[in-house]
């Protein structure tokens, strides 16, 4: 492996579905899917299609100021993103977003799945 000094690394915080904060580092040019996989982050079923734009399991929600500066979305990404559960105004697919220096210390949120939402509804019904 080539040696990268820590100054080249970009820190990303992931807020997981259960609210846990996972912090990981990546190199410029790594996709957010790369970051999750390379750091073995505990995000269930993330990146099922291995970044080929054939699923929406790497759906992430970005902070406004980060979202605005992201590269424009392609039609292919849009097709898959449209199918994602819990879509927001600042949603993108993690496999298409590559790290830039300006993203250092950003926080991204892993959206709930349908099952998660159902469970929280059930639990509030019981309380």
């Amino acid at each position: 492996h080539a040696h990268f000094c820590s100054e080249d690394k970009i820190t990303v915080h992931f807020i997981n579905r259960d609210g846990d904060k996972l912090t990981a580092k990546g190199k410029p040019g790594d996709s957010l899917l790369d970051v999750v996989v390379d750091n073995n982050l505990d995000i269930d079923g993330f990146g099922a299609c291995e970044g080929t734009l054939a699923c929406s399991t790497c759906h992430l929600i970005f902070e406004d100021h980060i979202f605005e500066k992201l590269d424009a979305i392609t039609d292919e990404e849009m097709d898959m993103l449209d199918l994602a559960y819990g879509l927001t105004e600042t949603s993108r697919l993690g496999c298409q977003i590559c790290l830039k220096k300006s993203m250092n210390d950003m926080t991204v949120r892993v959206p709930e799945t349908v099952a998660d939402a159902r469970q929280s509804v059930d639990m509030s019904k019981n309380s």
Partner: protein, 360 residues
């Protein structure tokens, strides 16, 4: 070589030679690697003693319970099958989806009892479901027009009397590959009219004309997997798939080909409740699905869903009874049962023969 303890092959042999006679004998007669990895499945009394956690807690990853450990496939028949497939450029779902039964099904006795599920239309799917490790791409390579012919030839070479054909999703093709499927069945039946063919199809995006094409191709069993209970469909499957659509596929196959046997499959252990499983089984029976298989979900790679629960062999047997009581012709239920697991095929073969003689 074992790089962890720093021994090379030569170093290891050297150590062996320097052992006293009795130790050497002990090493030679004692357990070898194969014994360790075989998992000792035959000792079923041990399963009840298993004290490991079966239901996943937050942040945990469950360990594999003993009843799910299988032998590493090896042997002449296994290799023979593998070579036949390779030489004809065919793909099996057994390999692509890392099925734990591959050793058992492929290695079974003479060729005639060996079973493989052939995957048509390549090894690359247009969807990325969270439970499946088959490769994915937006535009997989074009279909091999020789495939229907090659498949028929390979199956004839094997002398198989029951073959399962399945495929990846091909949302990139206008008919989802239905014509290709149908052609394969036709060729198979041409070469051997007695052969029993089961097709495990995609949902063709709900295109019922495509379903019809396959259903009328001459097959004996029409299978399509609902995969999980309705509440978990969105979490487990690609969003382009859903329960209602899958039910429609199964119903339609029977509508256009009343003699056909329909079949579906459920994976357990993804977080479903008993109530949900029962309700789903009822829905399936109401849709006149004939055969049901239930198996344990196993996480194929770290990019896929974690196992939420390992269901015990006893619980699987319970679901088998429920299925039988609900009136399915056959319920194959067990941790390692998969849609085309060999045990079901034997029974189905009898069932189809029964139906044929009844019809006469």
């Amino acid at each position: 070589q074992d790089s962890r303890c720093g021994l090379t092959g030569a170093g290891y042999r050297g150590i062996l030679c320097s052992l006293p006679g009795e130790k050497k004998e002990f090493l030679q007669n004692g357990p070898d690697l194969q014994d360790f990895v075989s998992g000792d499945l035959s000792d079923k009394s041990r399963w009840a003693e298993y004290k490991g956690n079966l239901k996943r807690e937050k942040g945990e990853r469950l360990h594999l319970p003993p009843w799910l450990k299988t032998k590493i496939p090896m042997g002449k028949n296994y290799n023979k099958l593998k070579n036949t497939l390779r030489s004809l450029n065919l793909h099996t779902v057994c390999e692509e989806a890392r099925c734990p039964n591959i050793g058992e099904c492929w290695g079974g006795g003479e060729y005639a009892t060996a079973t493989a599920t052939i995957m048509l239309m390549g090894d690359t799917c247009t969807r990325g479901c969270r439970f499946c490790s088959v490769k994915t791409a937006r535009s997989p390579p074009p279909l091999d027009p020789q495939e229907p012919h090659n498949t028929a030839r390979a199956v004839a070479q094997w002398g198989l009397d029951y073959v399962v054909l399945t495929s990846v999703d091909r949302d990139d093709l206008p008919d989802g590959g239905a014509e290709h499927f149908a052609k394969t069945v036709l060729h198979l039946k041409e070469r051997n009219p007695k052969i029993l063919v089961e097709c495990l199809t995609p949902d063709f995006r709900g295109d019922l004309k495509a379903v019809e094409k396959v259903a009328l191709s001459g097959l004996d069993v029409y299978a399509h997997n609902v995969e999980t209970v309705p509440a978990l469909q969105r979490k487990v499957r690609d969003p382009r798939a859903n329960f209602e659509q899958s039910i429609r596929v199964l119903k339609h196959a029977k509508e256009v080909q009343p003699g056909v046997i329909s079949k579906t499959s459920l994976m357990l252990g993804l977080g479903e409740t008993d109530e949900q499983i029962y309700a789903t089984m009822k829905l399936l029976r109401e849709a006149d699905v004939d055969c049901l298989t239930l198996g344990q979900y196993m996480q194929p790679t770290k990019r896929h869903l974690k196992v939420e629960e390992y269901i015990t062999p006893e619980k699987f047997k319970y679901w088998e009874k429920v299925g039988n009581d609900l009136g399915f012709h056959y319920t194959a239920s067990g941790p390692l049962v998969r849609s085309s697991y060999k045990a079901g095929e034997f029974f189905l073969k009898n069932l189809v023969e029964k139906r044929k003689t009844k019809a006469i």
